[in-house]
């Protein structure tokens, strides 16, 4: 470890606790309080990755969430490895293992580096322009592009970590733990408001906490000492919650915010055990204070991306906070005063500052005077035209700027250095403000977009640097003044502080600094993560892109995981300069959540595995499990799919079950069908309006099948409704449609027909349904309920009876979805398993066979009964389904009626439901397969297969399909083209079995 890069005295790093970690397999040491980035810099490691496109060596450039280069993969465990993590944000812990991304075979020798020499061939839009043709080659290109472009690797095993969600309600949410956030939180909490302070760092105090210089004083204390005292007081306030290591990801309307709280990412593996890793806070607050600060801008000049080139304020933080020297011979390059603060800090810590290059012609402030006293050389009105050094900057080339700043004059001066600090001014972090709907305004004198106070959504305020105040006195005074109004406060202690600080007097801004070379021969990087340069932006403009949103996408500027935190302002500036537009008119690109990346774990929280969705089980579920059912998911329901015996395949089981149901008896758990209880004197009128057929004359004790349409005339749901009493009906719906049907019915009752006296109650869960079918079903029911009259006269098809099984009340409907003589027994769910077992017991002598959804589907297909959602898809009318018989033509109106004779719905070439038989009766079609008339190209698609089975009862393959003009095509041969053969089919009637319905009364 190069100890000589650490300064010994430091308040923030605990040098008594040494921490070992690995970077790219090499064992290194740091101290408690370090980030991975500060520990690497202390080990003299700047080179941490390769750039995205040109694979240029890149180093740590910042100290925060805006970091574009130092993006690493953390951890090796295939379940826990974390890609795309910013080294500047990872707190060092014992055993941390991190790897460079986007380089192969190693960061020091990267084969992709050849792209740097090919860069004249890789302009903006290169991929779009080059890999377009021939289209069939895309698969080949894609492999290489994705392979070389990878930013980190996803975990390959399920995440073992725990994540959590928490709802938070507060009066005031303060975002940002810097000086303005601290003052806001303190003022709010002292007023007695329930306040939460969110801070993305592990410590409070922002950059002021390490601002230790006589220039910056508050009430005669240095600003850091004063702030430390404020923080100590703050921590004692009971109605204030401080969330450190927490980052607000999104600010939605109505003051709803999402924040990610990191709970264990800074701990070693054994300290993390059984703790929640990250928590998503879902915050609803009355008021929001945005105090998210500002980030420093880089400067855009030739070769501004070499390792060792770091934001000037970050160099200051590394020396003042972490006690780490980012170099031994540092130069600074700036357009403002803040680099001078860095120079003072470096000088105080004994780091040599060779030269400060300032593009301004003058600078006279307290800061510049102090620098001049130290003897550090300031070159005013100069710029850097080039930097040298491949894996680390080793020298800079400096030339004088012309008066207008558009070109350079004079001779080149070269300075050696091992680190260059750059500062292009400050950008307020307005992301959250704009996410919430706020609009920005442009301040010309220092080129910043700041919140427009007239276009700020209500109940929020921006303060401090995020509101465009960059100097200590402005930050404090304006924060206190505005918070006082925002929270309606009385006089407070912060109103008349004695604040001393330096004031910046001169400003000069040049978005793209000139070089002594033509721009085509330079590499002035804008977006360091996505490798786009100022040249790319200019090229995009030449090629006709005008909108800043288009320029962004074409050049990919600002589209990396850092979302252009460093690059966006310069891209805008260069576009404005090149097109002669005012930046305020140009506007910004859209800021979208999340502000910093979230893990998927945080987003899903506990909703993984069995908690991903609700699971609904019927009251008979345990019996199905005991009897080895295979289950199918139908919506949230677990339904028995088939009941394999002795190692049967699904096909074998279904063939056996289907045959048994027709030859003797089968039993189905139909409890999942939706059941709606309808009561009230207008139910029959209501049914008339919602079903296509007539309901007024349905007698008590009778059942009727109904088809429900949408207002557009398309089939929506179907089911049998039974009249239990004068004003009492029970409706069944499809399993999947139950909730939607109930909502739709409620909608009509509440909004269109409030005059109807109808009450709807869902009883799907309260009642369980078992359906016994087959020629022996009558005998089985007779055994269970000997007293019941089961004669066709006493209990005909489509009728219902109340009865008792032992002492259990039951409703028995004689209805059939298989075409067999069948009974549906409905009992209160608590008794269902018992009644089911009685049916099984009673049916034993008849080989009663439990069957699942697959056999049910097969049996109904033999009869040509549709399943809404399988044979229909929301584009078929009753007539398309050849169900014209169910349309009550005499009825004046019902939902969807008018749509049945729109010009589109009466077309004769609509797709219509038909039956299909394969020429080879053994050939079973695939559901979804296309139907065509000829194979001559271009091939016209006539329709597709909706249901297909091998029928054991007919001993041949059967299918249902929708075919254009299908009604007229009976007997026609069509082709089903498959991958390696063509299947010939014949269109037939959709009813394959027992066309005369003799078996219903068998």
């Amino acid at each position: 470890m190069s100890n000589n890069l650490r300064i010994n005295k430091n308040n923030f790093i605990d040098q008594t606790v040494r921490i070992s970690f690995k970077f790219n397999g090499k064992k290194l040491f740091g101290y408690k309080g370090d980030t991975l980035a500060s520990a690497l810099l202390a080990n003299n490691i700047h080179l941490v990755g390769r750039s995205f496109k040109y694979h240029r060596p890149r180093g740590i450039m910042t100290c925060g969430s805006e970091e574009p280069n130092a993006i690493v993969q953390v951890g090796k465990d295939p379940a826990l490895t974390d890609p795309n993590v910013r080294a500047t944000e990872i707190e060092l812990y014992e055993g941390l293992e991190a790897f460079s991304q986007n380089c192969w075979p190693s960061v020091n020798f990267d084969i992709g580096g050849i792209n740097n020499f090919l860069s004249p061939l890789l302009p903006a839009g290169f991929y779009y322009k080059t890999f377009m043709w021939p289209a069939s080659f895309w698969e080949k290109y894609e492999f290489f592009i994705r392979h070389s472009a990878g930013l980190g690797k996803s975990p390959t095993k399920p995440d073992r970590d725990l994540y959590d969600h928490q709802y938070v309600h507060c009066d005031v949410l303060v975002i940002g733990g810097g000086i303005s956030g601290i003052l806001s939180a303190k003022l709010s909490a002292e007023k007695g408001l329930n306040t939460m302070l969110i801070n993305d760092k592990s410590y409070l105090g922002g950059s002021t906490i390490y601002q230790d210089d006589d220039i910056f004083k508050i009430n005669n204390e240095t600003s850091n000492v004063w702030l430390k005292n404020q923080i100590e007081e703050l921590k004692k306030i009971p109605n204030l919650t401080i969330k450190n290591r927490t980052s607000v990801a999104a600010f939605h309307g109505y003051n709803y915010l999402l924040a990610r709280e990191n709970l264990t990412d800074h701990l070693s593996a054994h300290e993390r055990k059984e703790k929640i890793r990250q928590r998503l806070l879902k915050i609803r607050t009355k008021k929001v204070v945005i105090a998210t600060g500002a980030i420093e801008r880089p400067l855009i000049f030739n070769n501004n991306d070499r390792p060792g080139i770091i934001l000037s304020s970050s160099i200051k933080k590394y020396i003042d906070y972490y006690g780490v020297k980012t170099g031994k011979n540092i130069s600074l390059f700036t357009n403002n005063d803040s680099a001078y603060e860095t120079a003072i800090s470096l000088n105080k810590s004994g780091v040599k500052v060779k030269v400060i290059i300032d593009i301004r012609e003058n600078s006279n402030s307290i800061l510049s005077e102090k620098i001049e006293k130290t003897g550090i050389k300031i070159l005013r009105g100069y710029t850097i035209t080039n930097t040298n050094g491949y894996k680390r900057v080793n020298s800079i080339e400096v030339m004088k700027l012309s008066k207008d700043g558009g070109s350079i004059v004079g001779n080149k001066i070269t300075y050696k250095c091992d680190c260059l600090g750059i500062s292009g001014g400050w950008t307020p972090m307005v992301h959250l403000f704009t996410q919430s709907g706020g609009k920005l305004k442009f301040r010309n004198n220092d080129n910043v977009f700041i919140p427009d106070e007239n276009k700020t959504p209500s109940e929020q305020i921006s303060v401090g640097s995020s509101n465009g105040d960059f100097e200590l006195d402005d930050v404090i005074n304006n924060t206190v003044k505005n918070i006082k109004i925002f929270l309606g406060l009385d006089k407070n202690n912060y109103e008349n502080l004695d604040i001393k600080c330096s004031k910046e007097k001169q400003k000069r801004n040049i978005w793209l600094l000139p070089s002594n070379k033509p721009i085509s021969k330079t590499k002035p990087f804008l977006d360091f993560q996505n490798d786009s340069t100022a040249k790319d932006v200019k090229l995009a403009l030449r090629e006709g892109f005008k909108s800043i949103e288009h320029v962004k996408r074409y050049t990919t500027t600002g589209m990396g995981t850092d979302q252009g935190k460093l690059s966006n302002m310069h891209a805008l500036g260069i576009v404005a300069d090149t097109t002669g537009t005012n930046m305020g008119e140009l506007g910004t690109t859209t800021f979208r959540p999340p502000y910093t990346p979230l893990t998927f774990g945080t987003i899903v929280g506990r909703n993984v595995g069995e908690f991903f969705d609700h699971t609904r089980r019927t009251a008979i579920h345990d019996w199905h499990v005991e009897n080895k059912a295979e289950f199918e998911n139908v919506g949230q329901w677990k339904r028995p799919w088939y009941f394999p015996r002795n190692g049967e395949t699904m096909y074998q089981a279904v063939q056996r079950e289907s045959k048994a149901a027709r030859e003797s008896a089968g039993i189905l758990d139909a409890s999942t069908l939706g059941k709606i209880d309808l009561q009230g004197e207008d139910v029959s009128e209501f049914l008339n309006r919602i079903y296509t057929n007539a309901w007024s004359k349905l007698a008590i004790g009778k059942c009727r099948y109904g088809l429900m349409l949408n207002e557009d005339g398309m089939v929506y749901d179907d089911g049998v409704t039974t009249r239990l009493g004068e004003n009492h009906y029970i409706m069944t719906t499809t399993t999947g449609g139950a909730a939607n049907v109930l909502s739709k019915l409620e909608d009509y009752l509440q909004t269109e027909w409030p005059e109807l006296n109808v009450y709807l109650t869902t009883v799907t869960d309260q009642y369980s349904t078992m359906s016994i079918c087959g020629p022996n079903s009558k005998k089985i029911v007779k055994k269970i309920i000997p007293s019941l009259d089961l004669s066709d006269e006493g209990f005909p098809h489509m009728s219902f009876k109340n009865s008792k099984i032992n002492n259990v009340n039951c409703r028995i409907m004689r209805i059939s979805f298989t075409g067999e003589h069948s009974y549906e027994i409905n009992v209160q769910s608590n008794y269902a398993k018992d009644v089911w077992e009685k049916c099984i017991e009673a049916g034993k002598e008849f080989n009663i066979t439990p069957y699942g959804t697959e056999t049910m589907h097969l049996l109904r297909a033999e009869k040509g009964f549709i399943i809404t959602g399988q044979d229909t898809d929301g584009t078929l009318t009753p007539s398309d389904l050849q169900m014209d018989w169910i349309i009550g033509k005499k009825k004046y109106d019902f939902i969807g009626k008018r749509s049945l004779y729109r010009s589109d719905t009466i077309r004769e070439d609509r797709k219509q439901l038909v039956g299909l038989l394969t020429d080879d009766p053994k050939e079973v079609l695939e559901e979804g397969a296309q139907l065509v008339e000829s194979l001559e190209k271009p091939i016209d698609m006539l329709g597709h297969v909706t249901s297909s089975y091998f029928s054991p009862n007919l001993n041949k393959s059967i299918a249902l399909a929708v075919v254009r003009s299908g009604k007229k095509l009976n007997g026609k041969k069509l082709i089903v083209p498959m991958e390696n053969r063509n299947i010939i089919v014949t269109i037939t009637d959709a009813v394959f079995y027992d066309k005369e319905n003799k078996r219903l009364n068998a």
């Binding site: 409620e746 909608d747 509440q750 909004t751 269109e752 729109r902």
Partner: protein, 91 residues
């Protein structure tokens, strides 16, 4: 995500509600007497305004009641909430 003041339950999170589209589109009393164009007007044509829009909402995970909401679609600000059958309190 906004907060809706259900006229039956009070203020609740948007996740409890579902939106039923534009309000005050009455189902024609005599659909059979309408031309295809008139019926299509009822069936398909919606305003989709940027600005003040009158909408139907359902407190689907609450009291299941339908009601009307006046919402500014450009900023989600809700200007009024009123029951089915009531006149809009603002124009």
């Amino acid at each position: 995500m906004f907060i809706i003041n259900c006229p039956y339950c009070g203020e609740r999170d948007q996740t409890e509600f579902s939106c039923g589209g534009e309000a005050h589109i009455e189902r024609p009393k005599q659909p059979t007497e309408l031309s295809d164009d008139q019926w299509a007007e009822y069936l398909f044509m919606r305003k989709n305004i940027k600005g003040i829009q009158f909408e139907r909402w359902n407190h689907i995970h609450g009291c299941r009641k339908w009601f009307n909401v006046v919402r500014d679609t450009s900023n989600d600000k809700i200007h009024a909430v009123y029951k089915m059958g009531e006149r809009p309190p603002i124009k």
